[in-house]
Structures are given as structure tokens and as C-alpha cells.
Symmetry: C2
Subunit: 253 residues, 2 copies
């Protein structure tokens, strides 16, 4: 049985806790968080502590905390022989290099409270300080997903950036779409099939081949009508994305 | 049996042709397009013509042509007693007002060549010159979808604009994400589960409640690191969307 200690009690930590708990060959032996009150949920299921000196000996220490606090936490793990993993898209592997055994375990997905995800489909990007540890981390990842990928720190940072575009920014465009609906007394639900199809399309088409709309058609009349309809605060977003589509696809403005 | 003539041979026309063909109580009696060579596919299935004076008498004339040519086509339909429908998100109902019976039949979806869509889930926005015709158009729409909505011209234009945000612009963000992957020798497929989940989330959450990422956390360190990684041409897009997320959610920059 592989023993795991989770450090953190936020969204990523909670989702990892749930999926690790279900894995056949893993056991979460402890959850750490510096704020005791955040440990309430975990107390019913495993040992918890808010004192980082009290961590149990374990095969893995999985850090699912804010990027900023990782270096400080790592300082407190120096004597541990288990493999210490961080789960961040943006933090270099080298932040862990004062340790003996370390690596990265970055699940490329968006986690929201109270929304379960199917981990089996989630790519987990792994990196390690040695070939041997890489194999071990791979084994850990395969306990929860089919999709394990070796990704170096530079690639992971690029992926994290790409994720901001396809996830955070797309979601904000949905928010702006919802705002337009609301202002015009139309139920936002009417856009859901379109949003779903937009995302599904790229299962079979490269996104550049799936591009449609007034920008790629260079339909100036529609573009101008849209700009007139938009509140000032959103005109720039419309213009800059229209321009970017036209630049990317080699259209003249 | 309801008789339908389709005017147009592009993406929307082709998808409407396919779904109308399958409907129990409809018959497509003719497809018109001014360029004969575009009618090839339809010739095997129904009567076709490239002469607009040769249109057959029909219950419906469904115009699925570029917005710009609608007024000219309408001129040629003046003597028709059937209901003339346009399928555009951006064109006012009034463009048809020289006719006797007219309306709008706007399927809110993105159509790509060779990609079948499940019409039953697609909202069709309808509008008409009379209550009686509205009922008839509703009946037509219900032949192909469960989701028929009465939407006036102003609302439809707003929806068309919202669709540009959630569909065209989101897809372009996928394209930029794919570009980042390519530059870093990572397979774009790794982002697909994230894209899928981003779109699925809003089935159960309002998009504003699903927002995550460095912008809403006001994580300046990550934002700055991302800006350093980006090529110049995409820095503005990143900044303007980050700013918009922070403005929307009331965060200080």
C-alpha cells in the first residue's frame, strides 16, 4: 500500500484527496494545513495536523498549496526521505532541489468546489529528479488516470499559460456572453448548446480549422454593428480578438 | 406535407437541408443557388435551380445566404405567398417587410462542413410578421428541434454578438493555446479534457461563479511570468482579458 500525505486543504487538495481515497493501492495517512479550521472535512476520514513538524513518515508528500508558500513548506520537509511532489503548473522543479527525492505531479484540469471531476480522463504531467523517481511517480499517477505525460518545467509553464487561454479566458468570454443575454432579457441557457459544440468541435478539428464568424470572414458590416452594440468596456476585447483572428488567419483588416 | 424551398448551398443551407430531409412532415422540393456548381450535392436528392425566377410554389422559402445578398433575393420573392424566412442572427426582420408572409428562423449553433450536429438540442429563434405566421414557423421549427424560442430582432442581434464571444472568440483562444503547445513541443490533445470541462462546468454553474485562475486570484507573480513567456502579439490579449476579469469581479489591479 502506497502511503500519501497531502499538504493543503483547498480545491486541488480536496479533489486529490477524493481521487486518492478511491484508488486501490493508495492510502492517505494524513492531511496537513496550517489553518486548523480548514481540516474539518478531512478529520472524519484520516489523521490531520496543522503542525508541519508532525508529518508522518510517508512514501509521498503531495503539496497542493498556493505557489508562494511552496518554498517555505519545502524547508520543513528537508529531512524526509519520501518523494515530495508539488502540483503547480507555474513552479519550477528546482524549487524542490534541497530535498532528496522530489518531482512534480500537475493535473491539467480546472477544479471547482462541489463539482466532481472524472480523474481517469485528466492528463497528469509528471517530472522528477531522477529516472527512478519518475517511474515511481508514474506509478502513482496511473493509480488515478490513464493519461500520464512526462513534461519538463518549461513545457509545464507553457501549458499552464495555454490553460489560462483555453480555460480562464474562455470562461470569462462566457461571462461576457451571459452579461449580454441578461441585458437583453434572454436566458443564458440558450447559449449552452453552442458553447458545448464549440468545445466538442476540437475533438475532431484543429481549432484553427474550426474558426468561423465575422472576423475570419472579414465581415466588416457585422463587426461594426457588433461594436456599436457593445458597452465601451468591451469594445477593446472585441476589437483585439477580431484583429488577432484576422492576423492569425492572414486576413486584411 | 409541408413544402420547403432552400435558398443557399453553404454550411447553414447544407445542415438545414440534412435535418429538414429527415423530418417526418417536411419535404424539400427545391434548392436554389446562383452558382450552379454549388448545387451538385443537392441534385441527387431534390430539384435544383440557379434561376431565382424558377422557384416552385412552396409553403416556406428558407434563405440561408450571406447577409448582404438577402435584400436582393427578397426583391425576387415579392410575388410569393409562402412564408419567406431568413436564418441570420444579425439581420432585422424588417428587411423582409415588402413581402406578404415572412419571419426569421435562426438556429443558434456553429456549423462546419462535414461535422454533423444534433439539431434536436439546437435552440431555434423565431420571429414573424403576424401571430398566425409565428405559430406556423413554430410548427416548422418543432419538426427539427425541441427548443424553439420567440426572440425579437434586437434580442437576436444581441445573441449573435454573445455567440461571437462564446463561440468565435473562445475558439480563437483554443487556437492560441494550440500555438503555445506547438511552440513547446507539447501535443495539443493534452488540453482537450480541460476545454471540455470548461464548457461543461457552465451546465451547473453560472460562468461568473466558475471563474478561476491568476486574474481572479490577483496572482501578480503568475500574471507577470505569463506575460514574459508570451510573444508580443499576444501580450495585449492576455492583459486586456486579465483586466476585464478583474474589473468584472471587482478586484484591484
Amino acid at each position: 500500500m502506497i502511503k500519501v500525505v497531502i499538504l493543503g486543504a483547498g480545491n486541488v487538495a480536496s479533489h486529490l484527496f477524493m481521487v486518492f481515497s478511491k484508488a486501490e493501492n493508495l492510502r492517505i495517512i494524513q492531511v496537513y494545513n496550517h489553518r486548523k479550521e480548514k481540516l474539518k472535512y478531512f478529520e472524519d476520514h484520516t489523521n490531520t495536523t496543522n503542525n508541519i513538524s508532525d508529518l508522518k513518515p510517508s512514501d509521498y508528500y503531495v503539496i497542493a498549496l498556493k505557489d508562494d508558500v511552496i518554498p517555505e513548506v519545502v524547508e520543513n520537509l528537508k529531512d524526509r526521505s519520501g518523494i515530495v511532489l508539488h502540483t503547480s503548473g507555474a513552479v519550477n522543479l528546482t524549487v524542490l532541489e534541497c530535498l532528496s527525492n522530489f518531482g512534480v505531479f500537475y493535473p491539467l484540469q480546472t477544479f471547482s468546489k462541489n463539482r466532481p471531476v472524472d480523474f481517469a480522463e485528466i492528463p497528469v504531467c509528471i517530472e522528477a529528479n531522477s529516472a527512478e523517481n519518475l517511474e515511481k511517480i508514474k506509478k502513482l499517477a496511473l493509480e488515478i488516470t490513464k493519461d500520464v505525460r512526462e513534461v519538463n518545467s518549461e513545457q509545464r509553464k507553457a501549458l499552464h499559460l495555454a490553460a489560462v487561454f483555453v480555460n480562464n479566458f474562455s470562461n470569462h468570454l462566457y461571462t461576457l456572453g451571459a452579461e449580454i443575454c441578461e441585458k437583453n432579457q434572454v436566458d443564458f441557457s440558450i447559449l449552452r448548446p453552442l458553447i458545448k459544440e464549440t468545445a466538442s468541435k476540437i475533438e475532431s478539428l484543429a481549432p484553427k480549422d474550426a474558426q468561423t464568424g465575422p472576423a475570419i470572414r472579414n465581415d466588416q458590416k457585422t463587426i461594426e454593428a457588433h461594436l456599436r452594440l457593445l458597452p465601451n468596456k468591451n469594445k477593446d476585447i472585441y476589437s483585439i480578438l477580431t484583429q488577432s483572428i484576422q492576423d492569425f488567419h492572414g486576413k486584411k483588416l
